[in-house]
């Protein structure tokens, strides 16, 4: 590159670099300066515009830079030399711009080396490249496909940050957005013939709400179900396995249910059949039964044995939910009247737990399992309702007592007044 510059321009460039290095050595501070080896490339490229420009600020936040690596670690050359001829010498291994097709192997040259990686992070896995080669991305990359994702598409290049950094493109909260850069692009994905609504659906999902609204970083994002380096769409047979990583009880109950074999035979992916995949909404009790929003109607017809059970299960859930809501209303009303009902309100939490267990038990598709939990919840709801009714009865008793007391006091006051008037008159 510098070969095209005039000798005068080269002298000015060298002088500029020397001055910058001197100034930097006086002014630099913090971790970056402490960890950085001499990096003459950065001194030069930080003064260039995009796409060749890399600012010192951006590079200082690069995890590799923080570990003491220089540009030469990826691009080759001699970053310790201030002489552009030497720094970008082919003899020193300078590679210039790295082609996309070279990126996975270049990254793997370090990240697949267990001995080398131990020096930096002994906990870091070194099988990313092996996994990548099993992924759809990696398989297409091996076939020479240039559009598929390589390491830098997800992790970034010069601004590459540790995944735990909230600004990282692969931080859990940012992963879906990162994947959407390709997978939500209708034009970009056209040649592959796959949908591009996953990100839009995910943004409407309960998982996105947990991750973004509630800030729960353990909530699922793309890589939770599809894997990261070995990214692949889970097949019909193993969808349940993917969901069961978190929804353990539901998966166990489903595996032991009669639906397991029927779904497999019909080619229905377990959980996804009722809950969908990317746009999973808050499950409701209306999903079971034979109502308009029920999924059972897709296979069962009105009056068949399965439909009857589905309706019975829906009714149990609905009756427990209604009983809890009625107790809640009554206890709230009693509390607003100033009655002390905190113990009953605490008990309501147990009724809610029973409802939650019943909703999980739905996945066994056995009415007897559901009945056990709903009966327990209904018994508690009856107790709390009784406590609320007792509180309201007590409230009425207080009102009556107040009325009688006020009357008695008024009579006493009037009597006293009359008596005083009487003795003062006499």
């Amino acid at each position: 590159m510098t070969g095209s510059l005039t000798p005068r321009a080269q002298r000015i460039l060298r002088t500029g670099i020397v001055v910058k290095v001197l100034v930097a050595s006086f002014l630099s501070c913090g971790q970056f300066a402490a960890a950085q080896a001499k990096n003459s490339c950065l001194d030069y490229h930080s003064s260039l515009p995009e796409p060749l420009g890399v600012s010192a600020d951006v590079f200082s936040q690069n995890i590799h830079a923080q570990k003491g690596l220089t540009c030469a670690a990826c691009h080759g050359g001699d970053a310790s030399s201030d002489d552009p001829e030497k720094a970008m010498s082919r003899a020193a291994g300078w590679k210039g711009k790295i082609e996309r097709s070279q990126i996975p192997e270049l990254c793997a040259s370090c990240h697949a080396d267990a001995e080398l990686m131990k020096k930096y992070n002994p906990r870091l896995r070194v099988d990313q490249f092996q996994q990548y080669k099993t992924s759809v991305h990696g398989q297409r990359w091996a076939e020479g496909e240039s559009k598929v994702a390589v390491c830098t598409d997800c992790h970034g290049v010069h601004e590459l940050r540790a995944p735990s950094d909230p600004r990282s493109k692969v931080h859990p909260a940012n992963i879906a957005t990162t994947c959407s850069h390709c997978h939500a692009g209708a034009e970009y994905m056209k040649p592959y013939g796959i949908k591009t609504d996953q990100f839009a659906n995910y943004q409407e999902s309960v998982h996105h709400e947990a991750m973004v609204v509630r800030g729960d970083l353990s909530a699922p994002t793309c890589t939770t179900c599809h894997g990261n380096h070995g990214a692949t769409p889970p097949g019909v047979a193993n969808v349940t396995n993917v969901c069961s990583n978190c929804h353990v009880f539901q998966a166990q109950l489903f595996d032991a249910s009669p639906h397991r074999a029927v779904f497999a035979a019909g080619g229905f992916p377990g959980c996804v059949t009722c809950h969908s995949n990317h746009g999973i909404k808050h499950p409701t009790d209306e999903m079971i039964g034979m109502g308009e929003k029920a999924f059972c109607v897709q296979c069962h017809t009105e009056g068949d044995e399965g439909a009857k059970k589905a309706v019975a299960m829906h009714d149990r859930l609905a009756s427990l939910a209604a009983a809890i809501a009625a107790s809640d209303d009554l206890l709230d009303h009693a509390e607003r009247q100033g009655m002390e009902v905190s113990q009953a309100k605490l008990q309501q939490a147990q009724a809610r737990d029973a409802l939650l267990k019943a909703r999980v038990a739905v996945h066994s598709f056995r009415d007897v399992d559901l009945k056990r939990d709903t009966d327990a919840g209904l018994a508690i709801a009856r107790q709390t309702r009784a406590a609320g009714e007792q509180a309201m009865a007590e409230w009425k008793f207080r009102r009556v007592g107040l009325g009688i007391s006020v009357l008695a006091i008024a009579v006493a006051v009037i009597g006293l007044g009359l008596y005083i008037r009487n003795i003062e008159a006499s």
Partner: protein
């Protein structure tokens, strides 16, 4: 039946000379003038204090001091104990009315200038009693061990800690340690049911004794008028006329307390969690609100000095002036009366305005 009562009375009379006491009570009179109704405030305050003693003793039968038990025991009183809710609500409402009535009594005495010679010490004992009532309120507030009381006590004990030199020892004394813990609760309990009642009983006896000794004060204007035209002087007998009127007022107060307890039962809140963050917008009881709001609004630095410390010193000065008022205001002229009444009006206005501001402020 009547003869039996008569024989009991004569039996007691032989030993305790009740007839002499009765004659004394009937001989005692109370001045009657257009400001006489202010005399009832003291009696009303005494009645409410009596209510506090009775309901407090009843609460003691079930209350258990201790960080692990206090909240649960109050919950038990509110839900399981027969009429426990009523006793606790009356205790809480009566405490508030008592403080209100004590302030009203103090200002009525001040505006009627009843603190003048020879009643200086009656006034001083009364001001001490008002401070004691505030102490009762502060120490009793923590006893239910709920979130509000916990954090209000935390904030409240931090305020005197700002005073140079003695601030930290005061904080440690009030808390029984660095933080609000079970030790603070038992300390406040001890103050509330033993130390403060003992001092209050002594002061009340002293206060009432001095009132009996000196009699009711007559406002200066009326006293001068009666001096000039003695036939305009009017009095009623203390017993039974004044006592029966006072009894009527007590009945009304009892009815009011019952109504407040039944219509607005004192809530229990949520048990104090020592590790939870303080709830937003936490405020002390209304009678501390004017001081709290002032300290909130006062600039951090005033002439290079800590604003909060200056605020605390200013309130301390106001308290000292109130305590020593009879010795500071020795004049008997109308200009002196107007000056004191003007300052008292100003301070009363400030208290009301800051209390309202503190109440509505976020």
């Amino acid at each position: 039946m009547a003869s039996m009562a008569s024989s009991v009375r004569s039996w007691l009379d032989e030993r305790f000379h009740l007839e002499d006491l009765k004659a004394l009570a009937q001989k005692k009179t109370v001045p009657l003038h257009r400001y006489s109704y202010w005399y009832f405030l003291g009696g009303m305050t005494l009645f409410l204090f009596g209510v506090q003693v009775i309901t407090g003793v009843l609460l003691l039968l079930y209350y258990r001091p201790g960080a692990d038990e206090a909240f649960e025991s109050v919950q038990l009183i509110m839900t399981q104990v027969q009429f426990g809710w009523l006793i606790r609500s009356i205790h809480s409402w009566s405490a508030n009315l008592l403080v209100f009535m004590a302030f009203a009594h103090l200002f009525s005495v001040l505006f009627l200038k009843s603190y003048r010679k020879p009643r200086e010490l009656t006034w001083v004992s009364g001001v001490f009693l008002l401070f004691l009532m505030l102490g009762f309120g502060f120490s009793g507030y923590l006893l239910p061990w709920n979130t509000l009381s916990y954090f209000a006590t935390k904030v409240g004990t931090e305020i005197p800690a700002q005073i140079p030199i003695v601030g930290r020892p005061i904080l440690l004394f009030l808390r029984g340690g660095e933080e609000i813990t079970g030790s603070t609760l038992t300390r406040m309990f001890g103050l509330h049911i033993a130390i403060l009642p003992a001092i209050a009983t002594f002061l009340i006896v002293l206060h009432l004794g001095m009132i009996q000794w000196f009699g009711m004060s007559v406002p200066p204007g009326i006293e001068a008028d009666w001096g000039a035209t003695p036939n305009r002087r009017r009095e009623i007998r203390f017993f039974p006329n004044f006592v029966l009127r006072e009894l009527m007022a007590w009945y009304v107060a009892l009815g009011l307390l019952g109504a407040l307890a039944a219509l607005f039962p004192w809530t229990l809140g949520v048990k104090a969690d020592l590790f939870a963050p303080a709830p937003a917008g936490i405020k002390p009881e209304w009678y501390f609100l004017f001081m709290f709001q002032t300290l909130k609004l006062i600039p951090a630095k005033i002439l290079g000095l800590d604003g909060e410390v200056l605020g605390i010193i200013a309130f301390g000065l106001v308290g000292a002036i109130a305590l020593l008022l009879p010795f500071l205001d020795r004049g008997n002229s109308s200009s002196s009366r107007r000056w004191v009444a003007g300052m008292a009006c100003l301070f009363l206005g400030y208290m009301v305005a800051m209390t309202v501001y503190g109440w509505v402020a976020k």
